[in-house]
Symmetry: C2
Subunit: 464 residues, 2 copies
């Protein structure tokens, strides 16, 4: 058992015994005390923040198939081995291997002015340009406008998608959802009308000069055209230029390519349950990240929080009734192979995951959880709101669990997503700014404690 | 009326008319729509963030009595004049004038090692050292320990207060409250036992190398000894050194001094009420700040939010029933003269402030408000929780209003404090890191909209 400080074990024992008395099923003042102890442990002695620093600064961005992703597997396996869990193991999974190559260039040639460079990056999965690709640019807001322009006005040109994320959506993920199809489907839609390339305004509400990458996909029946993102500043600038110079030309050069699939791994750590070892409670995040930043909020935060949950249980001497697993999923960003493989193996082995909690919305201050359930199952979780509210966990609402744990749903697992405050997330998401310096220690550790508290309650009381 | 964008006035009028129907007293779906419009205005077209940039970058730290404080008076007066309010005016107030002078030095002389410098700053109001001041150091955690050591072990030495803010307090202001007497009273307590100076661990939960200043006070019956803060890193280091070398000496040199009181001003902007002009609703922050940083969170944020509340009313074409005032108070940090003067003048003029809302806890994401009331008055505000909750304003709880508005209390004003998330506040508070870059645009603008929404509701329905 890993203990890095003195804890009043006698008090803890009495709390545990109190909470486990036969017949007692409802949250009690002992639970209050245990959750206070979990937060104290995380805020006073937490290791999630220093672990994240290592992951970001010693390894950095870790796209599936990269050397950095392999190092992250080794690093997190070793981290969990040092916790002296009951079991730490890897799951083999073949992942896509896309490489950006040398830095991309986008240049625009205004009349009577020198060439102007735009902050640009290839979208993940894009083909390269095979040398400089120069053409005119047509700006659209959505696929309807694209369709109305038709092949006549699109063929041979770049399509520039410039619909911004709506600032007034308070949940920024909703704003993202309202705009992201430009990135994921923009190239295939543009290809229908003979475009030579797709340029998308970065998926962020901030106006700055960092391009934000992210996944895109092709339609195998259509030509594969290069797809890039430009910064919001560049998008604003380009849009203004196009108003006065609709024949403006843009040159794009990208060297990205897709290599053969590569062997990689999910990383799993486990504390075996003392009473119901066959009932698994999973906490997880994804270990891969985009390559432009350090994958700090997305999703280094979720990984170190999942490990921290197990560490907190060890440090406080809480022997769970059920089996707890921390899972670092590989390849969430551009394939979801890790999540699919995990569910496939769980099914093969006949494992029973009663609940899975994913943290993949950044290491920000806690707001609550989204629960992929309704009726009794949702109410069962919501009864614990008074215990979590003092720590910011006031919002226990119906909502999605998370991409990596999604494939477990058909096995009857209750899926839960950790919900931190979302205001700053898209400032950093998939950009060079997603680095360790933009994570706050207390906010990250509060999140770990919030997840550990919910795991503790599910472990104590099960799911009805 | 200042309108910087097209707004559907017809929709607004219908909202307003709807909300004002005779006999209608309770929040309605019109209120929901108006609050949505307030947030949209703030997030899409907000000016609080760019105003804060000007205040921080063109003026900077603005301690009472400084040239920068005078510039901030002019700047915010002009900002409000540009809004074409009904009235913008200054209130004269004499304020203390303390100056830091050249950078402070603290140096320690370990055995068999070169001198070691500590990150240090004078506390506001401290006397200087009158040249280098060198003495041994006695570390204590609190005044009880100081008292038990007594004059014999304290006389002729520095007292080093090293009790940290407790990490496990979720409301960080509570942690601050548990530690700050070391800073405010440390020097006078140490002087009782003949200490030559007082050194306090900075009031922050972060371990870094920035010293945090703040107010301290003397007992006129006791010797005035120099008082300084060292960074938390320096405090940790010094504490370890003292364990092995209790006779370690420290040299402190500070050139700070108190000059004669200076004429300064509160800055007030007003929209006159259409139905009940004699009922004033005040929103405010304090314009002065400590000198080490830019006074971004403390309290530039509160000032630009107060102005933004009036701007939002103007931009949306909301003519309030009651009189709205934005007040930039001068001298909160080291004297509270502005707050006292404001209340004094209000009394003289027979003004009736029904409510005063202060924003002085940073420009972070909204959590709610603390209301200095109980019973019916508290419940009256709490009935609006469902309207504010979707924007993060879930916590409408009993609590303090704010330092500047405090003196209005005896006039029967309902005092309310804006409560943003508190996790990051003390990372920056009173330190060089309290600069514009550490404020997030969305979080700041959300705060302005949250305050504007409460002002709107108080204006619509009054206080019963």
């Amino acid at each position: 058992m890993c203990t890095n400080h003195i804890f009043p074990i006698c008090m803890l024992l009495s709390l545990l015994l109190g909470a486990c008395q036969p017949g007692q099923q409802q949250p009690s003042s002992q639970d209050e005390q245990m959750i206070a102890a979990i937060f104290e442990e995380s805020l006073e002695h937490g290791q999630a923040y220093s672990n994240l620093e290592q992951l970001c600064k010693q390894i950095g961005g870790r796209l599936s198939g990269s050397v950095q992703a392999a190092r992250a597997v080794t690093y997190t396996r070793e981290l969990m081995e040092a916790l002296e869990l009951d079991r730490v193991f890897l799951q083999e999974v073949m992942v896509p291997h896309w490489e950006r190559g040398p830095a991309e260039v986008a240049e625009v040639y205004p009349k009577d002015a020198p060439p102007h460079r735009l902050a640009v990056c290839a979208l993940g999965g894009s083909v390269g340009t095979n040398g400089p690709l120069r053409a005119q640019v047509v700006e659209v807001k959505d696929f309807e406008q694209l369709s109305s322009l038709g092949r006549e006005q699109i063929a041979g040109k770049f399509v520039f998608y410039n619909r911004s994320m709506r600032a007034q959506f308070i949940q920024t993920f909703r704003a993202y959802g309202s705009a992201v199809n430009q990135r994921t489907q923009g190239a295939m839609e543009a290809a229908k009308y003979g475009a030579v390339g797709s340029i998308v305004r970065s998926m962020t509400q901030t106006i700055d000069d960092y391009p934000h990458t992210g996944a895109m996909r092709y339609d195998e029946q259509l030509p594969k055209i290069p797809a890039a993102a430009i910064s919001t500043q560049a998008a604003e600038w380009l849009s203004i230029q196009l108003q006065s110079q609709p024949e403006l030309e843009l040159m794009l050069e990208m060297h990205c390519q897709t290599l053969p699939d590569t062997l990689s791994h999910n990383v799993v750590g486990e504390i075996r349950g003392s009473e119901f070892p066959d009932e698994i409670i999973l906490v997880g995040g994804h270990l891969d990240s985009w390559d432009l930043g350090e994958g700090a909020h997305d999703d280094g935060a979720g990984c170190v929080q999942a490990i921290e949950v197990l560490r907190i249980f060890q440090a406080l001497g809480i022997r769970p009734k059920r089996t707890l697993r921390a899972v670092m999923f590989m390849n969430e960003e551009n394939g979801l192979r890790g999540g699919r493989k995990y569910a496939e193996l769980a099914k093969e082995l006949g494992e029973h995951h009663i609940a899975a909690i994913e943290s993949d919305r950044g290491g920000f201050t806690p707001r609550g959880f989204t629960i992929q359930a309704e009726g009794t199952a949702l109410k069962h979780i919501q009864q614990w709101q008074p215990l979590l509210a003092p720590y910011g966990g006031r919002e226990l609402v119906k909502g999605g669990g998370g991409a990596d744990i999604g494939p477990l749903r058909e096995q009857g697992t209750l899926l839960i997503g950790y919900s931190p405050d979302s205001q700053r997330y898209f400032d950093y998401h998939h950009a060079a700014t997603d680095r360790f310096e933009n994570v706050n220690r207390r906010e990250l550790q509060m999140g770990a404690a919030m997840i550990a508290s919910l795991v503790y309650l599910i472990d104590q009381y099960g799911l009805k």
